[in-house]
């Protein structure tokens, strides 16, 4: 019976993988170095955990940094033509405004603002079909088309109409990215999301092909999924259509994994690596998201990423001669360069060993010195990050994960308890393995037309997206409803986001 799950997380240093049993118990785990072509490390990690269970796997979830790296390094990006449906409104800021020149050089396949757009009250300004056809005639040879219209989240009808025209003029092979499918409120950010999405079709498509081939190599029968920004999963079909949503899986996976390892739904999660420490929050079982959109490779988008405070503090942080903390780190060279391992660099790990917090290497190499002031100032930084992330004044449970978490003390201000679960160093792969499948929708709600009915519209939109992503329709749950009222609207309006999620369809 297929009841086992595999989770894989490709990080900057390591590719981690786990095999989980039917009850979520850890059956196998591996850490291998991330390879130049990450797919080699993925194949190797799969081989290391699958053992004799190739026929018993129900799902294989992959969190990968391929798409993010392509954007950051401006490599393997497709050329995109941009069609904005809003004219004559919005002509004062052209597509690609604010985009770094090198990214634009890699991606810009021409841009046009054509007549059209939807109003907040639902009125639609018709497209000039001849104008759109004329523009598309100039788009031959691009790898993808990004289409974004004003208020397309209110009514996607016009983006869909334009997409049909693209198919008609340029054929059904070309990749078309629609703003309402990839972005939230904010036309420029949504347009940027559609542009990035259209430019990532090639590279993410290649990763998916290789991932599926790696599963075949090992004879693994399970359904493949990719993890996305909010820590949930999507099917490979949806990932091919919406590749940009795979960019932020890493931090989310750690936070989700910490929840699974401890059984907590609400907690802070401190992930200590060699160089930096990320403090994130688990809220109702999911990573709390940033309140605002993030910048990606220099481009403003409206993706919500996990809300994380990062501090330059890790196991490899170098201590200066006057006791100053980093920010430099010996990183993955800790086992050669730290004093406890016979090296000549004083690191935070050495201080932790001297204080009895951590046990590693040869304590006698430290010569009996203690660095209590160094540790105190490190603890203060972590306590401050905890305070920044807390949602209320009371103390909260804190889960420690990541290879460097041994440097932290037994108690921290703001933490009601510090939990150090077993297998804390593969929490990210565990988080990927147990991911739910979700759908998100955001609308501006006209409260004059009835609030409950409006919420239902947004909820069913989110549910439709979750089903497309591969969720089990019988087990969908509403995870979150966020509502913000809008100023100067008559009738009163609010901005509503709904997230629903359920386990992957077996």
């Amino acid at each position: 019976m297929s009841t086992l799950r595999i989770g894989i997380d490709v990080g900057g240093t390591n590719t981690d993988a786990v095999l989980l049993g039917a009850a979520g118990e850890l059956l196998a785990r591996t850490k291998t170095p991330t390879t130049e072509d990450p797919i080699d490390g993925i194949t190797k990690a799969l081989g290391a955990v699958v053992g004799t269970h190739a026929n018993d796997i129900s799902t294989v979830s992959l969190g990968t940094t391929h798409a993010l790296n392509a954007i950051l390094r401006r490599r393997e990006l497709g050329r995109v033509a941009v069609l904005r449906l809003a004219g004559p409104a919005t002509q004062s800021v052209q597509p690609f405004a604010g985009c770094p020149e090198d990214l634009r050089a890699a991606v810009d396949g021409g841009s046009w603002i054509v007549r059209g757009g939807v109003e907040i009250d639902g009125r639609v300004h018709p497209l000039d079909v001849a104008e759109v056809r004329g523009v598309l005639a100039q788009c031959a040879g691009v790898d993808g088309i990004a289409i974004a219209g004003s208020f397309s989240l209110q009514d996607p009808v016009q983006e869909l109409e334009a997409a049909a025209l693209v198919r008609e003029v340029l054929g059904s092979e070309i990749s078309v990215s629609l703003g309402h499918q990839v972005g939230g409120i904010g036309l420029l950010e949504r347009e940027n999301a559609a542009i990035l999405n259209a430019s990532l079709g090639g590279i993410v498509g290649g990763v998916i092909d290789a991932f599926v081939a790696a599963l075949a190599t090992h004879g693994i029968v399970g359904t493949p999924y990719l993890t996305q920004n909010d820590g949930t999963l999507m099917s490979v079909e949806q990932a091919r259509a919406l590749p940009v949503l795979t960019i932020g899986g890493g931090a989310s996976n750690s936070i989700r994994g910490a929840g699974v390892l401890t059984g907590l739904a609400d907690a802070l999660v401190i992930d200590v690596g060699g160089t930096s420490t990320d403090v994130g929050a688990l809220a109702q079982g999911f990573p709390r998201e940033s309140a605002f959109g993030v910048e990606l490779g220099g481009v403003q988008t409206n993706f919500r990423m996990p809300d994380v405070v990062s501090i330059a503090l890790g196991g490899g942080t170098i201590i200066g001669t006057a006791g100053e903390l980093g920010p430099e780190s010996v990183g993955y060279r800790l086992p050669e360069q730290a004093r406890v391992f016979g090296g000549d660099v004083l690191t935070l790990s050495d201080c932790a060993v001297a204080a009895g917090r951590a046990a590693m290497g040869d304590t006698s190499l430290l010569g009996g010195a203690t660095w209590s002031e160094v540790l105190a100032s490190a603890d203060l930084l972590v306590a401050d990050a905890i305070d920044r992330m807390k949602l209320s004044r009371g103390d909260v449970p804190v889960v420690l994960v990541g290879g460097g978490s041994a440097i932290l003390p037994a108690t921290l201000p703001g933490a009601s308890e510090l939990l150090r679960p077993a297998d804390f160093d593969v929490a990210n792969a565990i988080g990927a393995a147990v991911g739910l499948v979700s759908g998100d929708a955001e609308h501006v709600l006209n409260l004059g037309r009835g609030r409950e009915a409006g919420i239902e519209v947004v909820r069913s939109d989110a549910a439709a997206r979750a089903l497309l992503a591969g969720a089990d329709p019988a087990l969908l749950e509403t995870i979150r409803i966020d509502e913000v009222s809008l100023a100067y609207t008559d009738p009163p309006m609010s901005r509503l986001r709904v997230k629903v999620a359920g386990p992957p369809l077996a």
Partner: protein, 367 residues
Amino acid sequence: MRVCAGETGVRKSLTVQLDLSNIARYAHGCAVLGTGGGGDIRIPLMIAQAAIAECGPVAVIRPEELADDALVLPVGGWGAPTVCIEKFDSGDEGRLLCEAAERWFKRPVAALMASEIGGGNGVQLVSWCARMGLPLIDADGMGRAFPEGDMCTMHIAGVSPAPAFFADERGNVMTTHPIDALWHERIARHLVLVSGGVIAGADHPMDAATVPEATIPDTVSLALAIGEALERDGVDGVLAVAGGRRLVTGKVVDVERLTSGGFARGVVTVEGTGVDAERVVSIQVQNENLIASESGRTIACTPDLITIVDAGTGEAISTERIRYGQRVTVIGMPCADVWRTPRGLEIAGPERFGYDGPWVPIEAAGL
């Protein structure tokens, strides 16, 4: 009489134009003067940058540099900030407003002026100036941001809002002749709805000779100086340039949001940290930050300016972007003297917003 900027010597360092090198600093200064409202500066800044890149820098002038009978047009945007991030300027609005005014007055517009310097409204019109080749008057009608169009110094000075001109991004142009400032506000709100949530407007047209007695002088230079000080010295720089006081530095521990009458109302509570430990300051919000109080005692109150800025960078945080956990400094700045007159307080004092008076000047708080 000139207040604040002129007396603090800001004038001496005035850059007499807004160009690509200083427009972002200017916009951040406008955000500080926005007291949490006035619209987000991000898209207006992009619009202004595009227009300057295309058409060149904008000259900033004093009204005295114009002939007494030269036509000065106060302009600004009306509408919902959320609409502005989905549909924004075509870029033609400034031309449509000027042409409408010129058709009526049968003489050219000599300069534009911000109706409201605070927030995006202080920034958007820079693009119109650039595209029209018109100078920007170093003054405005509020010295900050306010939620309603009648809360302006031209109203205090008795300048009629009529004729008022409106243009939307589709090219519709409307001229209205409201009988007073309140009717002007009422009519404009309806035009905003017809045009789908945002509209560009010009009102209280004036001769250059009237500008000094009906506006707050030197606010463009002040915004630029605040932006420069912010970049250089963070919060301390802002306080020095704006004559402001640090009301509290701490952490946002509560954000209570209510909606009534089309306004985003709420209460933001800031718990002091460091030297302010044990202090708790709450701020009443109605689109803008209106009253700051501590232990039931008012420590700053509209029309004085209250702005919440990032404790680290000094950048202003608009009302919609305040979130639990942010590390902030709340700063208070004295408003222009004209707002402290009985008529000014009637139009923009605490009672106007439904709070108990009387108004307490920020200087009396003893902070």
